[in-house]
């Protein structure tokens, strides 16, 4: 089997991509209007929503960047993972019920729709839609680049595709992504998410078992090796220190309820009562898949320190080196398919909310109505958005990384800081005002952009998104308290009391 390692990996990835294409064709027959395209007609069952929710949370970053971070800074990065139970709980307490009720009551297709209904303000809708589009561009570009880099690494190991270029890999991977997103919209997206989620759970569990067998003394031997080299790296705050760790705890924990691609999925379940089952199922899936992040990182750091493996050229090589050195070919095939699954499940979610912002929300905020023939334009804009993001990705790789890095700053942290107060708090507090919302979003964008542009390094590993998040929370509540109490629409007022 070892002799066919590369062929097995390529085969697993090809089977996975064919599955995505078939799902797109199947979902096309179920997509009749823009409501089906953007929110699956609010008709999804609890298992589908749960798997879609967690698989969209754990992007390619979880499979490549996560183990790389553990290799680089040790336990500090665990904080991004262990917050999942708090993050999902907060998300469901604050968002799941009300977003679903408002979506049904006002027939909302997107998060800006919900926000506009809650605040009765087109300005808030516009700001939210622009934030989403900027964030989507950054996220999509990095995800597409990650997909292409992984594909190139896999294919270049075969004789036939030994010289394949990055551009060809961007074209192939983006084509599959675009195909199923255009044909099947969110329906294709969530059903591929189900399989993607299942692959990620299996991959996480199998990798843990493999990791435990690398050293005779299991994980404890690995952690002892790290402890002997640098005790702080394996202690609770890791090499990056206490404030970097707690900053991630804050931004990734609370911030989960501010991620538009995740909370939009909370609008899609058929029955409100399914929420009680979706929460534990999502959490279970996330924990199982995240085992890969932790176990690969720990084993690779210990293996390099112990001289079992040569030092890595880049921390992000941790996962691929682990797979080539320690995993059998079949497992490597499953994990590489899982890696594509992780990247695509996040990408398709972003593509969908970005398209909604462009054809539905921004026109509605400016002209008072959406474009005509939304379904047609949704498909056109999906292609355009993915193509532009792929262009950004290639430009960033070959010419200048500044633009994508800048848009990349609109990642998790910016979404968390700008969207959490307005949505998660605003949907539960009738005193939240338009002025508070506009101030919070603007301040979050400004602080994150400034820190990124000016390259400001704060002491003790304090991050820009943490400062932005706390500032936007204080401003959101503070400004709302001192401005005139808003008059809510009757139906929204009643929903907020349920």
């Amino acid at each position: 089997m070892e002799a066919y390692r590369q062929e097995i990996i390529v085969g697993a990835v090809v089977i996975y991509m064919l599955f995505c294409i078939v799902t797109g064709l199947w979902a096309m027959r179920r997509t009749h209007d823009s409501s089906d395209f953007f929110i699956a007609g609010r008709g999804l069952g609890p298992i589908v929503v749960a798997l879609a929710l967690f698989s969209s949370t754990l992007s390619g970053f979880g499979f490549v960047g996560g183990p790389g971070l553990v290799y680089s800074i040790g336990v500090s990065s665990f904080w991004m993972v262990v917050i999942s139970s708090i993050g999902y709980a907060i998300g469901f307490f604050l968002v799941a019920k009300r977003i679903r009720m408002i979506a049904e009551l006002r027939d909302c297709l997107s998060l800006p729709d919900v926000v506009a209904a809650r605040y009765g303000s087109e300005a808030v809708r516009f700001l939210m839609a622009v934030t989403i589009v900027l964030g989507v561009m950054g996220y999509l570009a990095t995800q597409i680049l990650a997909m292409a880099v992984v594909m190139q690494a896999i294919l270049s190991g075969t004789e036939t595709f030994a010289d394949i270029g990055l551009v060809s890999c961007v074209v192939i991977s983006s084509t599959v992504l675009i195909f199923y997103c255009v044909t099947g919209g969110i329906i294709a997206s969530v059903y591929t998410d189900v399989v993607q989620g299942a692959i990620m759970i299996v991959a996480g569990s199998l990798i843990l078992m493999t990791a435990m067998s690398v050293f005779d003394g299991g994980i404890q031997e690995a952690t002892s090796i790290i402890l002997a080299d640098d005790s702080e790296a394996i202690m609770p705050f890791g090499a990056a220190g206490v404030m970097a760790s707690l900053g991630w705890f804050f931004v990734f924990g609370l911030g989960l309820a501010g991620q538009p691609h995740l909370i939009t999925k909370m609008m899609m379940n058929k029955k409100m009562t399914d929420n009680r089952n979706i929460l534990p199922m999502s959490l279970f899936g996330y924990v199982m898949a995240a085992l890969l992040w932790i176990s690969i990182g720990i084993i690779m750091r210990a293996a390099v320190i112990d001289g079992v493996v040569d030092p890595l050229a880049l921390p992000d090589d941790a996962a691929s080196t682990f797979l080539s050195v320690f995993a059998n070919p079949l497992l490597a095939g499953i994990v590489f398919a899982g890696l594509f699954a992780a990247i695509m499940s996040t990408s398709d979610a972003f593509l969908n909310i970005g398209t909604a912002a462009i054809i539905h929300d921004i026109p509605k905020a400016i002209r008072g109505h959406s474009v005509k023939n939304e379904l047609f334009w949704a498909r056109v804009v999906t292609v355009l958005l993915a193509t532009v993001a792929a262009g950004f990705a290639l430009y960033s790789h070959f010419a200048d990384a500044t633009l994508v890095a800048l848009l990349g700053a609109f990642g998790w942290g910016t979404f968390a800081a700008s969207i959490f107060p307005v949505v998660a708090v605003g949907l539960n507090w009738r005193g939240a005002s338009v002025a508070g919302a506009v101030t919070a979003i603007s301040a979050a964008l400004l602080i994150n952009f400034s820190v990124q542009l000016a390259g400001i390094v704060l002491p003790y590993g304090i991050s820009g998104p943490l400062v932005a998040f706390i500032t936007s929370m204080v401003l959101f509540i503070g400004v709302s308290l001192v401005t005139k109490k808003p008059e809510l629409a009757k139906d929204i007022d009643r929903v907020m009391q349920i």
Binding site: I73, G74, V75, F78, W79, V82, I83, S85, I86, A89, I90, F93, L94, V95, K97, E104, L105, I219, Q220, A222, L227, D230, S231, E232, A233, I234, M235, P236, F237, G238, A239, A240, G241, V242, M243, L246, G253, L254, R276, N277, P280, I305, L312, A313, L314, V425, P459, Y460, G461, I462, V467, I470, T471, V474, I477, G478, D491, R494, V495, I498
Partner: protein, 178 residues
């Protein structure tokens, strides 16, 4: 009592901002955010852990204690005022106490390790890290349990469902009349 929960949330966030400022102005140490590994490129080491916490240890402890309190306050905010019964609030208080105890156990066992240089292991990890890894993960399970098991009591009761359905019906009738 919980009508003013938003003021608590505001106060906690403001206090966390003040702590961040204090940490920002605290005396710093060279390895505060880690330094490159002397042997392996791409790896970072933390170095002297006691030195890193010397000026900010207490502030960092307070910061996370406030963060955990904020988590529980936000969860309470997410529940309709009429369902914030003494039973619900007691469950929330219990969750907060569990999370704070886990945080205290993690912090104090780490301090103990920094003093003695010795640690035991639990399920593969040094004790302080095991508190972080398993404790933090499991510490929020009571919140998940309150949501899941208490869904029909606190989150979306049968009366809530009936009220929402009635509201939907009213809105649809109004739409039809227009």
């Amino acid at each position: 009592m919980t009508r003013g929960i938003i003021y608590w949330i505001f106060a906690i966030c403001a206090l966390m901002g003040v702590i961040l400022l204090a940490i920002g102005f605290a005396e710093t140490v060279p390895n505060a955010g880690g330094v490159p590994h002397p042997e392996f490129p791409g790896m970072v080491v933390g170095g002297d852990g006691a030195a890193r916490l010397e000026h900010i240890g207490g502030l960092a402890f307070a910061f996370n204690a406030l963060l955990l309190t904020l988590v529980v306050c936000l969860s309470i905010l997410g529940v309709s005022e009429r369902h914030r019964s003494p039973k619900f609030l007691a469950a929330m208080a219990g969750s907060l106490i569990i999370m704070l105890l886990i945080w205290w156990a993690m912090f104090s066992t780490h301090q103990e390790f920094l003093r003695t240089g010795e640690t035991g292991y639990f399920m593969g990890f040094p004790i302080p890290t095991a508190w972080q890894m398993y404790g933090t993960w499991l510490g929020a399970i009571p919140l998940v349990a309150i949501y899941t098991l208490g869904f029909r009591h606190f989150i979306f009761t049968e009366e809530d469902e009936a009220e929402f359905n009635a509201l939907l019906k009213e809105c649809q009738q109004e739409e039809n009349q227009d």
